[in-house]
Amino acid sequence: MMSSQSKRKFSPTFGLLFSTINKNAGVIILMSLAMLIFCPGIFLTTLSKSEFNQADAYTLPEYLDILYGVTGVVSCVLICVCNYVNLAYLYKKQSSDVFHSLPLTRAQLLFSRVAAGFIGVLIPVTLGYASLSVLSFFYPTYAIGTLSQIASAYLVNILYMLAASAYSLIFIIGAGSAFDLILSFFGFNTAVLVVGGIIHALCDRYLSGYSSAFTGIMRIVSPVYFLGEKAALFAIDNVYSLPKSEDVVFAAIIFAAVFFAISAILYNFRKAERGGQAYAYKFIYIICAVLAGICGGYALSEIFVLSADTKELSPIGIIFFIVGAIITTVVYGAVTNRGFKRFKKSIVLGVASALVYGVIAIIVASGAFGFEKRIPEKKAISSVVVDFDDAFINFNDADKALKLHKAIIEKKADDEYLDTVDTPHTYVRINYNLDKDGKDVLMRKYFVDKVKIKKELFDVYSSDERFTEFEKGLERVKGDSIELWGGKSFNDDTEYADIYGRLTSSETKELLSVYKRELKAVGEEFYSAENQTKHSVINVTLTIDIERKPKSFGIFTTDDFPETNAILNSYIQSNEDTIG
């Protein structure tokens, strides 16, 4: 009779997997205990306290957020650590010999070691979420969350663990020693953020129309940032609701799949003899060195650029960038190669860093492949918002906005370095919605010389859309709840008077009507240099609050607005209140 063991098909892959889990059993038990102390431990303590004091029950949702956040982050970190521990054999010849001579393919070996680490972390995480589900079942009146919310959070946590595991594998397999693994992992992930910041700074200064926030670049350059932001949004916006957060699930799955595929390929072609050397794959060292070179070069360049009061892409900036990049790559090379054995190659990498930076700078300065000149077709625009000075105008007909946009580009009105003392200037933001869902948005921001585009600016500023949007809100205002506030400065620029008043709807309409008429009469000269630099002006804002959504309308007048000024002067505060 055959024994049950001999009937079962022998699998070295699963044999190694369970053997590894067995070896790590002590650590898994410790992690599980820590998890159970955290959850349900803290929850049970708080629930028992809340029997006496209801206020304690209100702290439960906070604990829930902490549980999700801490468990998510800690489990992802632990997965990376487990991967390192289970694949540390790669870094020593003796251990590499033993593992690579085992009767497994490379893929089977990688799978069994990585899966063992994953299961080791999954057990305590599952225990935590399971106990939370039990609590939510027994204490439904407390704000622990529904089972579906808990299940969603659990699923996202697992997917993030997979993505973190796959991401860390690239560095673990790519490195040849533990020291260089730490150096490349933290170096790369820090450097991509810094380089993202550098690209953002360059775009901000040299790319006309660039309006993305810093986070926009970060999402592109750093997978950690991208996924971290998605997870934060999942927690904040969607309250751990899976149906609303398919993109976080999708992102985690895609990242995990791509990183695992890369890791498997790297491991399959990894040369066992690289164990003990700095890197199994030199490209990781080269990428890290180039990134470090860009960071170092930019840091040194900025010091001299700031002290010489010049620009990044000036000769001083470029020279010190190259010097800084070479110094950084030489130091980085010395650390990696444990000495100056590859001094010349480090210099080459420094020069490469400068070249990469140069290419980025050229792309940015030359308009980023048509970015600067891109103006959407009118038919593709569903709406557009133009925002400058005290005007925030929403156009359904994009004509005026398009004309303004074209004028800024054609008349080269955008200049980050224009003389702000003598030139009337302002930031103009144009945001196009290219579909009705508002998902596809084209955003541009310019720092413009007003005089160069005075006609187009005036057309937008004096447009009916600007007035009608505010006037619509007036219909819903009762009493004198429209607030008028601002000030008047006088010709000699030494006196200033506060303007304040509360207006009714009809008073506001009359003020706007007079102002509009006088504004049209002044015409585009409203944005002439002379007009814009006058000292005797009134600058006020009308504010209404409709259903806690404040709307405001700015009024800027000079001596060319006698009737408007007459109305506004009546709201000047008494002498005691004026500021000299």
């Binding site: 010999d97 009767p103 040369k271 066992a272």
Partner: protein, 299 residues
């Protein structure tokens, strides 16, 4: 049969193995000798599937060993420094190998544990160098491999354990048809145990065959002449070394003993004799021909 064809492995531009070819029959004890850095360990790592050859192929019955579990399961490789999982004992290591080697035999393990008196519950990190090697050998032999690859097999073992191991290896070879490949610097041990030998130098296989065949091809002849012939005369032989001390000529040559002696005698020496060459001497002469710094070895 274990075969290698044009096996080449390069490390950062320098060839550790350069077109190595061999065939090893089952059931033999094969010695791999060579100078430092000759490629012995690299060859064992290629056979065991640790290293992927840059060119050529190595494997069992024509099937390459790299990334091939069915071939690798027939091979047990013990490197020059045994490795064990951190904080593990022999029992845990046995469990580790049992989980990955289908043929791991617990009876063999227990038998070997009785032969090598080791505490299977003690941490392996507390073991001496020799004990660690014994532990590793127990584990490797327990996997019942068809091919056992040993890099510096006897390093750290005392005389008794060397003899014990030698007996176990010979016994396993006879009983199970296991083939053992031993890479070592200790030519005496190789000479005693192996029935086949290969000499590696700078990644190339420069001699290959039975012990007698390798050392028996090389002959050291001493002859005394009244009128010493010119050295050029001896170039007709496959000469490895020639020295003259007065009327005495000492030469080392490859070839058939009788042919060489017949040639020397044809030069009418007053006296001539052929001295048997040990494996170690044969090894040194072979390396000397290849320009290896023999003098520093002798020193």
């Amino acid at each position: 049969m274990l075969t290698a064809q044009n096996l080449t492995k390069t490390f950062e531009g320098s060839k550790a193995l350069d077109g190595v070819c061999f065939e090893i029959d089952d059931g033999c004890v094969y010695g791999l000798v060579g100078s430092n850095g000759s490629g012995k360990s690299t060859l064992l790592r290629c056979i065991s599937g640790v290293y992927k050859p840059d060119d050529g192929r190595v494997g069992i019955d024509g099937i390459p060993s790299f990334n091939n579990p069915s071939v690798k399961s027939q091979i047990a490789f013990l490197g020059d420094t045994p490795y064990f999982l951190p904080q593990s004992n022999l029992k845990e290591m046995a469990s580790f190998y049992k989980s990955t080697y289908k043929n791991f035999d617990i009876d063999t393990y227990k038998y070997l544990l009785s032969v090598f008196p080791l505490n299977e519950s003690a941490r392996l990190s507390t073991f001496s160098k020799g004990m660690r090697r014994q532990a590793a050998l127990i584990l490797m032999l327990s996997t019942k491999p068809r091919y056992l690859l040993l890099d510096e097999a006897f390093d750290g073992l005392d005389v008794v354990m060397r003899k014990t191991l030698s007996n176990i290896i010979i016994d396993s070879t006879e009983k199970y048809g296991m083939t053992v490949i031993i890479a070592s610097h200790n030519l005496r041990e190789i000479e005693d145990m192996c029935d086949h030998i290969s000499l590696l130098h700078e990644g190339k296989l420069i001699a290959d065959g039975g012990i007698e065949e390798v050392s028996g091809k090389i002959h050291k002849i001493q002859a005394v002449f009244e009128r010493v012939p010119e050295k050029e005369v001896f170039k007709q032989l496959d000469l490895m070394k020639i020295e003259q001390n007065g009327s005495v000529i000492s030469l080392v040559a490859k070839g058939d003993r009788d042919d060489i002696m017949a040639f020397v005698d044809s030069l009418s020496p007053k006296f001539s004799e052929c001295i048997d060459v040990s494996l170690e001497e044969a090894f040194i002469y072979e390396l000397e021909v290849l320009g290896y710094d023999v003098k520093s070895i002798e020193a």
